[in-house]
């Protein structure tokens, strides 16, 4: 009970900054809105014949992309705590060792949720209409958040290894761009060269985007890509959670 209170207090601490300074959230919500609008009107005609036709395809893709980008801030925040001594202050307090990490990831889930809601609202204003049900939409949100929790561990590792917060961002975004763009998030797979299609189809970002699209548009099977992305999430968590904790302890033991 006490540990849960402490985790909530640590999550509050990451969120209270957003409440005071909404631009902080803007940092990573304006960008996806820009992406959404630009993709829609610049590529929409070429990819789908018209922006209107492209919207249903690209909106789930942008939601997935944004989820990945927001996880970078988990690593960024953790690294800031490590380099600024805040993490040491927490460690000298009688709280469980995992609480600071759990608090950060929990706060991140709230930010993720806000971003998804924002994109859905903007999508609606641009003309998007849900083809499935609210239950499907909730399933989409749950799937994206589950993947986010798992993927956060990759960024925790980056946050532990990086020298300073700037390097977390540099490394995080540099790694995310190819994974995001060499996927079916923005462009149908069958328009790509065959040698690339194998990679794109196995890419968890594609699976997640396909599942999200099916859950929002009823335009294909949802279960198969959903299970595929959950399998990826499990695999990522199983590898990166222990590895991150191991590397974190190593960094702390070094002094």
């Amino acid at each position: 009970m006490k540990a849960i209170d402490q985790t909530l207090a640590l999550a509050w601490r990451s969120l209270v900054q957003v409440r005071r300074n909404p631009w902080e959230l803007g940092d990573y919500s304006i960008q996806p809105i820009l992406f959404l609008v630009l993709f829609l009107f610049v590529f929409g005609g070429a990819i789908a014949g018209s922006p209107e036709n492209y919207l249903a395809f690209v909106l789930p893709g942008v939601i997935v992309m944004n989820m990945l980008f927001v996880t970078v801030y988990v690593g960024h925040g953790l690294n800031t705590d490590l380099t600024r001594g805040v993490f040491d202050r927490f460690r000298a307090l009688p709280i469980p060792r995992w609480a600071p990490l759990a608090g950060r990831i929990l706060a991140d889930m709230v930010k993720q949720l806000l971003c998804i809601a924002l994109l859905l609202v903007v999508g609606y204003l641009l003309g998007f209409r849900l083809e499935t049900s609210w239950a499907h939409l909730l399933a989409m949100v749950a799937l994206v958040l589950t993947f986010a929790v798992a993927f956060s561990w990759v960024m925790v590792l980056v946050g532990v290894i990086a020298r300073d917060p700037e390097h977390v961002q540099l490394f995080g975004f540099t790694a995310l761009f190819p994974i995001t763009f060499v996927s079916s998030a923005f462009v149908p797979v069958d328009t790509m060269p065959t040698w690339l299609q194998g990679f794109v189809q196995a890419n968890p970002v594609s699976l997640l985007a396909d599942a999200a699209r099916a859950l929002m548009n009823a335009d294909g099977p949802a279960l198969e890509p959903a299970l595929g992305s959950l399998a990826w999430a499990l695999g990522i968590a199983l590898v990166f959670a222990p590895l991150s904790v191991y590397m974190l302890n190593r960094r702390l033991a070094r002094g």
């Binding site: 006490k2 209170d5 001594g85 002094g255």
Partner: protein, 322 residues
């Protein structure tokens, strides 16, 4: 339990560097221990080990009767730590920083707020309470940091170079707080490079150099060890300072400290004074001023390490002089 802090044979290595090399400490409950040493002496490493942030390579340490390795969780319940570098959340306001610590220590929301406001008042931060800590000056940050370590009313408090970066007034304020805490029964271990600070606050001073304890005692005891007196002389012509220093070294047996035209050296036999004057006179060195004063802790440090008190030295510069 008599000793709030007990350290035996503490060793800590970083890769190939031995930062702490067999330190023993005993701090009775309610005492202020001053850990004095130059940059790189191992002060921070000792503090971080006692605060459960670093595991010892060898030796044992007990804080409040609890082993810092095996009973780390118990230790964390009774200590407060202000590290060498301010460790507040820059994005949070001062008040939010303190509320967070209170909540983490298990205070109810209302209690945490009340405690935060109390400390903000005590530390003269009420006006800045609602501003993000990143807008604070160095001194305000230090005060916030210190209040953060006091939220839980710790029985044992670690302060790592608490007055570094403070202006003289802020430093005196800080000293006043430490005295109040001591009066309230808190055990304090503070590290410092300022000899004056150790002298002003500490019941006992432990001098650390290259990871080893090279002296311990009260300020008075340490001064007595040096013979209690310092010979100082001012040469009339600066270019003769070096020559004068060499001649004094020959007579006293210790290399004096030279600062411009002023030469000072600890002496055990005050009757050397006339002899020094005669010798310099014979060598044609003009003396503008010559006298004896009680030894300062600076002199203690000089006589113990062969180097001057470290506060004005670059890290590593001491190695060359030694």
């Amino acid at each position: 339990m008599d000793n709030a802090i007990e350290v035996e044979g503490l060793v800590r290595d970083f890769g190939g560097t031995r930062a702490v090399d067999g330190v023993d400490l005993r701090v009775p409950a309610g005492h202020v221990l001053g850990l004095l040493g130059p940059n790189g002496a191992g002060k921070t490493t000792v503090v971080r080990t006692l605060a459960t942030l670093l595991a010892p390579t060898a030796g044992t340490a007990r804080v409040g009767g609890f082993d810092v390795v095996r009973e780390a969780a118990r230790v964390r319940e009774i200590i407060g730590l202000t590290g060498q570098y301010a460790s507040v959340d820059e994005k949070l306001t001062g008040r939010e920083n303190l509320i967070l610590i209170g909540r983490l220590l298990g205070l109810k929301r209302r209690e945490a707020r009340a405690r935060a406001d109390e400390l903000l008042g005590d530390f003269d931060l009420r006006e800045a309470a609602q501003r993000p800590a990143q807008t604070y000056s160095g001194g305000m940050r230090r005060r916030l940091d210190l209040s953060a370590s006091l939220v839980g009313r710790p029985r044992i408090l670690f302060l790592d170079e608490p007055s570094t970066g403070l202006d003289p007034r802020a430093r005196r304020d800080l000293w006043e707080r430490v005295r109040q805490l001591q009066a309230g029964g808190t055990t304090v271990l503070l590290t410092t490079q300022y000899l004056e600070e150790a002298d002003a606050l500490a019941d006992t001073i432990v001098v650390l150099d290259h990871g080893r304890v090279i002296a311990k005692g009260t300020a008075a005891e340490l001064k007595a060890r040096v013979g209690g007196r310092t010979l100082f002389l001012v040469v009339a012509r600066p270019e003769q300072a070096a020559a004068a220093s060499d001649r004094v070294a020959g007579m006293v047996g210790t290399q004096p400290q030279v600062d411009g035209e002023t030469i000072s050296v600890p002496v055990s036999d005050p009757s050397l004074l006339p002899a020094v004057l005669r010798d310099l006179d014979a060598a044609g060195i003009e003396v503008a001023e010559l006298g004896l004063r009680g030894a300062s802790l600076d002199d203690v440090f000089l006589s113990l390490t062969g180097r001057s008190g470290a506060s004005r030295e670059e890290p590593g510069a001491g190695e060359d002089a030694a």
